[in-house]
Structure formats: C-alpha cells, structure tokens
Amino acid sequence: MEKRVTFRGIWLPILLVLPQIVITAVFFFYPAGKAIWQSLFIPDPFGLSMQYVGLGNFEYLLTDPYYRGAFATTAIFSGLVTLVSMGCALFLAVLADRLIKGSGTYRTLLIWPYAVAPAVAGVLWLFMFNTRVGVVTWYLGQLGYDWNHVLNPHEAMGLVVIASSWGRVSYNFLFFLAGLQAIPRSVVEAAAIDGARFWTRFRTIVFPLLSPTTFFLLVVNIVYAFFETFGVIHTITSGGPQQATTILVYKVYSDGFVGQDLGSSAAQSVILLILVSILTVIQFRYIERRVHY
C-alpha cells in the first residue's frame, strides 16, 4: 500500500528518520548482531581473549541437561500461565457479556491490574505465601498443609504461575469481552430460537466465532510468559529451588550476568531470538497487521 500523494525532498525525510535510525542502530541492531557474533565464541578462563568455536556453544547447550531442563520448565510454565490467565479471563468475560448493564463497571474494576508490574505482582504474592509471615501460608497451616515454596519445586512453580497469571487476567479479559461484544446478537439469538441452551450455544456458536481473539491471545500470552515474567521469577524464587523455575530468559540473565558465561548466554539469546521470531511470524501470518508489545 502506498500513498498517492507525496511531498518532494530528500534531506528532510532523511533528517526525520535519523533519530530512529541512530537509536535503533546503536541499541538494537548492533547488540543483536553482537549477540549472534558472541554466540560463536567462548572466552578463555581469564576473559582476555575469545576462541572461535563455531556452533559449539549451541551444540553444548542442546546437550546440556540444565538447558534442556530450562526448556522444559519454560514450556510447562508458559503453558500453565496461558491456560490459567486465559481460562479465568474467558470465564469472567462470558459472565460480563451476559449483562445488559454493568459490564462497563466490571470492566473498570477488572482492567487495572494490567498496570501492575510483574515484579510488583511477584512481591504481592510472595508476601501472601511467605513461609514465615504469609497470610495464606498461615491459613494453609491451620488446615494442616505445610506450604513451603522455598523448598518444594512444585509449590514454587505453582506460585510463579499464579503470580504471573494474576495481572494477565485483566488483559485477556479486555480482549475476550471486546471479542464477545463483536459477535452479532442475531447469530446467538438464532441459535436460541433453534433451541440451543446456553452451554450448547457457547460451545457451538460463540467459542468458534471467538477463535481469532483466542488465537491472538494465545500467541501474545506465550510471548508474555517467555519474557515479561522475568520480574515475577526474580522476585519470588530467583529461579529456584534447584532451578525448578528457571525459565529460558532467566537463564540468559543468570548465565550472562551472574555466571559471566558470555558465549553461552549469547547463544541462548540467539535461540530465544529464533523462538520469538517464529512466534511473531505466526502472529503476522494469521493475524495480519497486529503488533505486540
């Protein structure tokens, strides 16, 4: 698509795109290129020189049980976060859509956790489930359940999943509600006249018509779970216990900055880069013109 009308001039437009070019070149393309470059080297033990190893870093990673573990953890974690946050959101959106009045009020009440940073959400949930002072921990103790996510890997995973899904419910709710409200009433009414009960209507009419929204949210939530949940993990578990909550992006950070293993960290960045590119391509392929943040 092109504009028919254009202004003349060459220097003005170049001047206009210059700030963006400079910033993106310096802080985007150069680092991204460097990540790819670094992924082909390993530093010597003293950090004085780099040794070229080709795809050695990648080969090592793919056989490294810790990295494979992080892969599996990421898959489980992002699957659960997507499922929980989308499930709750869809349930609430279906309810809100049933109301003639008041769906706007509920929307206002439900949207604002979107504004809460994942890291802050992590702190809130950590506080509730804190092993010593957490309110929920205490009540669970009264019920005879000894909660300790610091030691129990499953509890740790459960907690980061809930904390990551919590704020995400609002985001998904907004999209599901908008999607539901875009379904023509007449279609649903026609099904009602045909004798379909609520659940049948939802299963056979509403949910299929909602599938573009669902698919879009699926991709966006996976990307969210891959990257933006870093703050949740870092505040609640720091990847533990025994790496049970070390997702890929957390490993890039811990290997690169804590472990100082630049070659491996760069190779991991490149793998993430490929993964997110695939997701983006899928998104653009099936949902044209839609951008994620």
Partner: protein, 284 residues
Amino acid sequence: MADRGGMVESRGFGYWLTHLGLIVGVLFIFFPIWLAFVASTVEQQQIVHPPMPLLPGDKLIDNYARALSSGVNAPVGRMLLNSAIMALGIALGKIAISLISAFAIVYFRFPGRKVFFWLIFLTLMLPVEVRIVPTYEVAASFGLLNSYGGLIFPLIASATATFLFRQFFMTVPDELAEAARVDGARPMRFFLDILLPMSRTNIAALFVILFIYGWNQYLWPLLITTDPEMNTIVMGIKQMFPSGDDTADWPVIMAASILAMLPPIAVVIGMQQFFIRGLVDSEK
C-alpha cells in the same frame, strides 16, 4: 454497549449467579492488593506474628512517610522520581521519534526508504530481554550506567510505535495532504497543523501503553543501575528485601509496592477509553 438484551439475556437466578461470579472474580483480583494495603498500614510486629490482620491499622502515615523519605536503600520518593522520568522519557521519546519517522516513510519517497521500512519491521520481533547482554555492553561503553539516558534509550530502540503511526497515517485520506498543499502548507506545516492534531487519540492511547511499559520495566533497570539513588521503584522493591535471614521491613516494602502501583493504575483508569482503544487497535 447499546441494548444488549433480548431473549438471550438470562434473568432471575442465573442473573444473580452471573453477578456472583463476577464479584468473586473482582475479589480475587483485589485481594493481593488489599492485603498489601493493609500491611502498609500496620506495625511490623503485627505482620511477623501471623496471621496478620485483614483490616487496615493506624500506621498508614508513619509507614508511607518512612518509605518516601528514607526507604531501605534509597528513599522511595527518589525511586518514584526515577521511574517517572524513565516512563515519561520512554513514552514521549518513543512517540516523538516514531511520529516523525512514520511521517517521513509515508509522505516522502527517499533513497533507502524501503530498507528503512524493513529494518523497522525487524525490530518488531525482538524484546529487549533477548539482546540484553550486548545491549548492556553498549550502554556501558557509552558511559550510560546509572544514568537516565541508559534507562531510556535502549528501550525506545524498537519500531512498534513507528509501525502503528504508519498504519494510522495510511488511513488519512490523500486529499487532506493535497488540500494542504493547495492551501500552501509545506511538509512540516502539514505535519504540525493537520497530521499531529488528527493523531491525538492515537498518541494518547500509545502514551498510556508506553508509560506502563516504561514504568514496569524490571530487568533493564536492574542491570543498568547499580547506584541505589538511580534505582527505579519497580526494581527497587526487590532490593529492599534483606539478604540472609534478616526479617524484611514489610510495612515499608508494602507501602513502596502500593506507591509503585499507583501511577500506572491512575494512568490506566484515568485514560481508560484511550487505553482500551489503544490496546485493541494496536494489538488486534
């Protein structure tokens, strides 16, 4: 939402069940924040001997004053200021450079335009988390550690906003630019007088989204700021937890958490219409 009623609308029992379900949902969403608020109004002693109370205490002013003025490592007031500068810098900076570059690629034909457009497209794909180590090295080599520039620039180095403004500019009728040319407007005049005012809603929507994006950044500020005076509030909270077995100062930490949430929540609620529109337009 006009009349969404009709025969499908449920009444009676089902109607109340619907409200009940929504209210439970709202309470679930609210509960962690309510608890944080309560914790920020009581004394440390009431928290470390569980269960903590579920209703606010009387130490609200004490705790918040303590957090704002001294905090744990750095005053929360200072960190809020850092966050505000970072979030505004990212939102306004990105909007400004994106507007002018989108204007250039839509309304001009210049050498390298196609290449530029594809470069923009590439940047849509990669979150900052992916290229974090080399980006850190670049920022360090420019001496941007512990500086606002270091907090802001790497996060505006993507073209999502450019892409959105381009989409919007493409929908502006050609005749408007032609009418402006006939009226004697030079390119920048057209941009300032016609295009910019027409983009108001999009700019506002994008502002909300970018402000929240900037405010809620965690990993990048964690790396780029080592001086507590330059910490942002969102990352600073984690720094308030003591290492080892010391007991955390929960009332102050929770006061800081509440303070960290307020600005973005205020922006979202206050600009709700723009926000929803921006979100649904930009992401759908």
